[in-house]
């Protein structure tokens, strides 16, 4: 009986989360979803090597940027677009290739956004389910109904939710001691977007290990990346495009005495983790997350990478919870000060295209004062560094 009530509660949570997502998903737009789908459309036209194709044809295309993601991303989302195409409005392809003054004036933009985000909804709910299995209902509710993840998944609408799902799935199997599956899924996540490489050393040493295990796990982890990248490794356009993704450069950008700070902090966190008895992966990721957003010039959607892992340590004690919320709100204010008109009002163009005409905070500050928004961003970073420092103070954790 208790189990049935529990299942009923779960169903209510998931159905309401689904309804809320179906309401929110079509209301918001960010050009990233268009630029990515612009590139994905070429798979349905028989283009497999997108890097070479863009190198040769870019100047003839209405949108001329390179494709900076790994091949598995192109192939899987290209297939996804082919599957979704029958349910997309008839003028979808026209919109995808329209980069002129009327590109925001398509009434069906509402449904492009809804349908393109449907896969995100499944991965998002999937993460919720995994977090429920890993922890408890409270974590599930926090994941499904917190405004930060809704903003990152449905407003910024980047495909990062997919590698995030696979990295959480990998973590789930790691906790269940099924390391083969764990490293395979972490490998899939890395083949979609390279950032889960940051998690790999922590996963490797989560359990007692030896050289043979490390070798096997490393091999399983590398397989998806090797298989998907191999056909492109002799192609210079591929390397040129991938080097434009920026994560590697951004990680080593901030230096003190010419020492890149983030890699140094990463190493310190890893050493603490390696020598710790209880191998608290979530807490290590929390510190990596804090350092990442203080010392790396980040894209807003990158906040999502760590979020599912750090919810648990954050809700375990009040101090962390309060500090984390302050940290995230500061990070979002930082994001609003980026000189990108699509990062505030521009999101709302499916509701009314005129929103793109409204001045965003960067412009308001530069037009109405002599303050340089980048300076405010620097102060916000100092503040975030201060908040991060407070996390280090000893706390009394609840047992849950």
């Amino acid at each position: 009986m208790a189990k049935t009530i529990w299942q009923k509660d779960l169903k209510i949570i998931f159905i309401f989360a689904l309804i809320l997502r179906l309401i929110l998903a079509p209301l918001f737009y960010h050009p990233d979803i268009k630029t990515q789908n612009f590139h994905f459309q070429f798979l349905s036209k028989g283009v497999v090597n997108i890097y070479q194709f863009l190198d040769l044809n870019r100047k003839k295309l209405p949108y001329q940027d390179t494709f900076n993601y790994p091949p598995l991303t192109y192939l899987s989302f290209g297939i996804e677009q082919i599957i979704l195409k029958p349910i997309l409005p008839a003028d979808f392809t026209q919109w995808l290739n329209d980069w002129g003054p009327n590109q925001n004036n398509y009434p069906n933009l509402f449904y492009y956004m809804l349908i393109l985000k449907i896969p995100y909804i499944f991965f998002d709910l999937g993460i919720g389910y995994l977090l429920y299995k890993l922890y408890n209902k409270k974590i599930l509710i926090l994941w499904l109904f917190n405004p930060f993840s809704l903003y990152l998944i449905y407003i910024l609408a980047n495909f990062d939710i997919v590698p995030v799902f696979f990295s959480v799935l990998a973590f789930y199997y790691l906790k269940k001691s099924r390391s083969n599956l764990s490293f395979f899924y972490l490998g899939i996540a890395t083949a979609l977007k390279l950032y889960p490489l940051l998690f790999f050393p922590f996963f490797i040493f989560y359990q007692k290990t030896n050289f043979k295990k490390i070798f096997i796990n490393g091999l399983i982890f590398s397989l998806p990346l090797i298989i998907s990248v191999f056909p492109f490794i002799f192609n210079p356009s591929f390397f040129q495009a991938l080097s434009g993704s920026g994560l590697t450069q951004k990680i080593i950008e901030f230096r003190l005495l010419n020492i890149p700070i983030y890699p140094l902090i990463y190493l310190i966190v890893f050493i603490f983790y390696y020598f710790s008895k209880n191998k608290n992966l979530e807490k290590s990721f929390l510190f990596l997350f804090l350092a990442f957003f203080v010392f790396v010039s980040f894209h807003p959607q990158w906040l999502l990478w760590f979020l599912p892992f750090i919810i648990f340590p954050v809700v375990q004690n009040k101090k962390y919870f309060v500090l984390f919320n302050i940290f995230i709100i500061t990070a979002l204010i930082y994001v609003l000060l980026i000189n990108d008109r699509y990062l505030l009002w521009g999101h709302l163009i499916p509701i009314n295209p005129f929103f793109i005409q409204l001045n965003h905070p960067y412009l308001i500050i530069t037009q109405k004062s002599r303050i340089i928004p980048e300076n405010i961003q620097n102060y916000l970073k100092y503040f975030m560094a201060f908040i991060s420092f407070l996390f280090l103070a000893p706390t009394h954790e609840k047992n849950s």
Partner: protein
């Protein structure tokens, strides 16, 4: 009934907040002309004046945006934009410098709402050895965005409702039907889950 109302009210609040309240609060203008030819055709550095006639425009014209190109930002001459009525009475005058023009960029000029039957927009620059171009289309119609001011919250609120209804009508019919059917069915299922005994689920 109370249980489902809690969920429905959240859904309605979300829809009302984003679809019906944000626009009238923050959008106080509407689009007028929206034309982009995308060709840097008219060289203003020769000292000639480009004249664009707008024979009719919705009331309360309150901004115009023109597209200019200052190659490598070399030109720093004075650029003048006049807005006259059709009888050549000057209504607004703006001057700015080439250094304020990108390679290329849209220049937005805002002013108090104008109500004339038509307008003449005159763009000129001081002669200079460095080129500065005005964008236009193949028919020599300058790249131009205009906006009109929408007075009063109530007026904007009602206009937004009309706008949302029109947008809805212009969307794909079957997608509208499908979308509302899915939302209705999910809410019905939520209702079922909330009111049935656990043994019936």
């Amino acid at each position: 009934m109370k249980k489902i109302l809690k969920y429905l009210s959240i859904e309605i609040i979300v829809i009302f907040f984003f679809v019906f309240s944000l626009s009238p609060i923050f959008i106080r203008e509407e689009f007028g002309i929206n034309r982009e030819g995308g060709q840097a055709t008219f060289n203003l550095s020769s000292g000639k004046t480009f004249i664009q006639i707008i024979s009719q425009h919705p009331p309360n014209l309150d901004s115009i945006s023109i597209q200019l190109k200052n190659p490598q930002i070399k030109n720093n001459s004075e650029i003048t934009v006049d807005i006259d009525d059709l009888k050549d009475n000057l209504l607004q005058e703006f001057t700015f410098y080439g250094a304020n023009v990108g390679d290329p960029s849209w220049i937005k000029l805002k002013f108090k709402p104008l109500n004339s039957s038509g307008y003449k927009i005159k763009v000129s620059a001081d002669p200079d050895q460095n080129d500065i171009y005005l964008y236009s289309d193949k028919n020599n119609q300058m790249d131009l965005h205009t906006t009109s001011y929408l007075p009063g919250f109530k007026n904007r609120f009602l206009k937004n409702i009309n706008y949302q209804i029109n947008q809805f009508k212009q969307r794909s019919y079957w997608h509208n039907v499908g979308y509302f059917f899915v939302l209705f069915a999910l809410n019905l299922y939520l209702f079922y889950l909330l009111y049935k005994k656990p043994s019936q689920i």
